[in-house]
């Protein structure tokens, strides 16, 4: 998809000889555009839930929420959290420990032998009172955790071994990278076989949105207000159509 997006962006930009963006600029804009749309999925999902609660949403092919959740689930990762030795603390998902940074931790599980117990995230304003509560103090039946910087602290503190805690989270999409071969005359030719090649991870129907977002960034970059306005107008219309 990335080559198609780039070709379309360049086509629009070059229509009136507005300008040209380099592969490295394109990659930067593509990353921003993808993150923008990725984050928008969560807001759209919430918007659709509210519409469902207002009985303004349908089922079957009209189930918009399902589509959003499918896209979000495609970024879901489940992995054991790295244990910090001799403590009840674990490292939150990172590129180094679980292979990807997290955008949102959806659930944390305590691996209690063969059964999994869902751990509840508790705010720092509540955890002290919770620990002192006779009724609701975290137990291995109802475990809890807090997060501070890049560390997750598990309660009760008997949750303190390797592979005691598993996490299901939504990772960030990989940075897109349009890779190329340099032809004679300096013209880059798309090369999808490069080791650092990375396509967009969003679904195909996001291609128009990606193009419009990248066009906005590119228009700003080459100081061409017409390109920005065109892209913004198209994006606004698209958003309005989806409501």
């Amino acid at each position: 998809m990335i080559n198609s997006v780039r070709n379309t962006v360049l086509s629009v930009l070059n229509k009136n000889n507005y300008g040209y963006i380099s592969p490295s600029d394109f990659n930067l804009f593509a990353k921003q555009a993808q993150l923008d749309i990725f984050e928008d999925y969560f807001y759209q999902y919430n918007y659709q839930i509210n519409k469902e609660n207002a009985r303004q949403s349908g089922t079957g092919y009209a189930d918009i929420t399902k589509g959003y959740s499918e896209v979000i689930d495609s970024f879901s990762v489940t992995a054991y959290l790295a244990h910090i030795a001799a403590t009840n603390r674990f490292t939150v998902p990172t590129e180094l420990t679980t292979g990807s940074d997290y955008y949102l931790i959806n659930k944390v599980l305590f691996v209690d032998g063969t059964s999994l117990k869902e751990m509840e995230q508790v705010s720092h304003s509540k955890i002290t009172m919770l620990l002192n509560s006779l009724y609701t103090a975290p137990s291995t039946t109802f475990p809890a955790f807090t997060i501070e910087e890049s560390t997750l602290t598990a309660y009760p503190d008997t949750i303190n071994k390797d592979e005691d805690v598993k996490c299901q989270y939504i990772r960030y999409p990989e940075d897109p990278k349009w890779t190329y071969l340099s032809l004679t005359g300096g013209e880059p030719a798309f090369d999808s076989t490069a080791s650092d090649y990375q396509d967009f991870e969003l679904p195909l129907d996001d291609e128009p949105d990606l193009i419009m977002k990248i066009l906005q960034y590119a228009g700003m970059s080459i100081r061409e207000i017409a390109a920005v306005q065109f892209a913004q107008g198209a994006e606004n219309k698209d958003d309005a159509d989806q409501k």
């Binding site: 839930i49 609660n53 919770l130 609701t136 137990s139 039946t141 109802f142 809890a144």
Partner: protein
């Protein structure tokens, strides 16, 4: 998910204790209650949304406690010998008593709660009846008050017609070896049936956590029937409730959360409250086990002649 096998139920898979799962099918565990509630009654399209699980856990436990106090009829029973100080220390999970009995000669004899006190605290006093204090300004207390001492020594008199009755040993009429009028000299008519009991009596000192008995109970076997709150010493895995009340506990949690949540319409709270109460009534009726067989047994007594 399959329930436990018959072998696991009867023999606990050969592990100890063997009776671990006997009767377990009557109950649903606290973990299941919380899990089911979060799954079925909380979420994006439910009345309860964005509530922490620990709140659900709190209300579930509170609901189970309330049920244990009266609706469950889950009576716990403890038998202990009363010590020389005529005390019976209340069980660690005691909340309220149902019946106190003395057990001897193979018979349980229910005891009467003394309508008067038989214990008190006291302060040390000098000859002028001024209270004595220690260097920290606290009043000095004796080991036992006079009331306690008299009771332990057996010299305290009782308004009950037992061995400590104030009339005991006074003039009366002996006929065929039995004393029929165990009263002071002078006419006395009628009988206070409330105190007409020959057995020892007791008073519960809740603050001290003991049952204080009258002197006749020393070294005798006492059976305490009591109710607990079902919290099983704080062991979450052991807390459960009868399945008859399962729907009620969900309704109770839902009501408790809605009732304390900002912005919930009054009619929604009202509906939740009515549902909760109706389910409690249903569950109580079910648990009372009223059925024709039992009624028949009771009604068989209607033709009995009372002489």
């Amino acid at each position: 998910m399959a329930y436990i096998t018959q072998y696991k139920y009867y023999e606990n898979d050969g592990a100890s204790p063997k009776d671990e799962n006997w009767g377990s099918y009557q109950y649903v565990s606290l973990a299941d209650v919380v899990n089911n509630f979060m799954l079925m009654y909380a979420g994006n399209h439910s009345l309860v949304n964005n509530e922490e699980r620990f709140k659900v856990l709190f209300h579930a436990k509170r609901g189970i406690q309330e049920l244990n106090y009266d609706a469950f009829k889950e009576i716990k029973i403890l038998q202990l010998n009363v010590d020389g100080n005529l005390r019976f220390v209340l069980p660690s999970d005691y909340v309220n008593w149902v019946r106190v009995s003395v057990y001897e000669n193979g018979v349980l004899r229910p005891l009467t709660e003394n309508i008067q006190t038989n214990w008190s605290s006291a302060y040390l006093q000098d000859n002028n009846n001024d209270i004595l204090f220690d260097h920290a300004g606290n009043a000095l207390e004796p080991g036992n008050s006079n009331l306690d001492l008299d009771r332990i020594r057996g010299s305290k008199r009782s308004i009950y017609l037992n061995q400590n009755s104030s009339f005991n040993g006074l003039e009366g009429y002996c006929c065929d070896g039995n004393w029929y009028f165990d009263y002071s000299i002078g006419a006395r008519f009628g009988l206070n049936t409330e105190t007409a009991n020959i057995n020892p009596t007791f008073v519960i000192n809740k603050q001290a956590g003991v049952i204080n008995f009258s002197s006749g109970m020393s070294n005798r076997s006492c059976v305490l029937e009591y109710v607990s709150d079902g919290m099983e010493g704080g062991e979450d895995t052991k807390i459960n409730l009868n399945k008859m009340f399962e729907d009620y506990i969900y309704a109770y949690i839902e009501y408790a959360i809605l009732n304390s949540k900002l912005g919930v319409q009054e009619y929604v709270v009202g509906r939740a409250r009515k549902r909760k109460q109706a389910l409690l009534r249903n569950a109580k009726i079910r648990l009372s086990n009223i059925h024709p067989g039992r009624l028949l047994m009771n009604m068989r007594g209607q033709n009995k002649w009372i002489k």
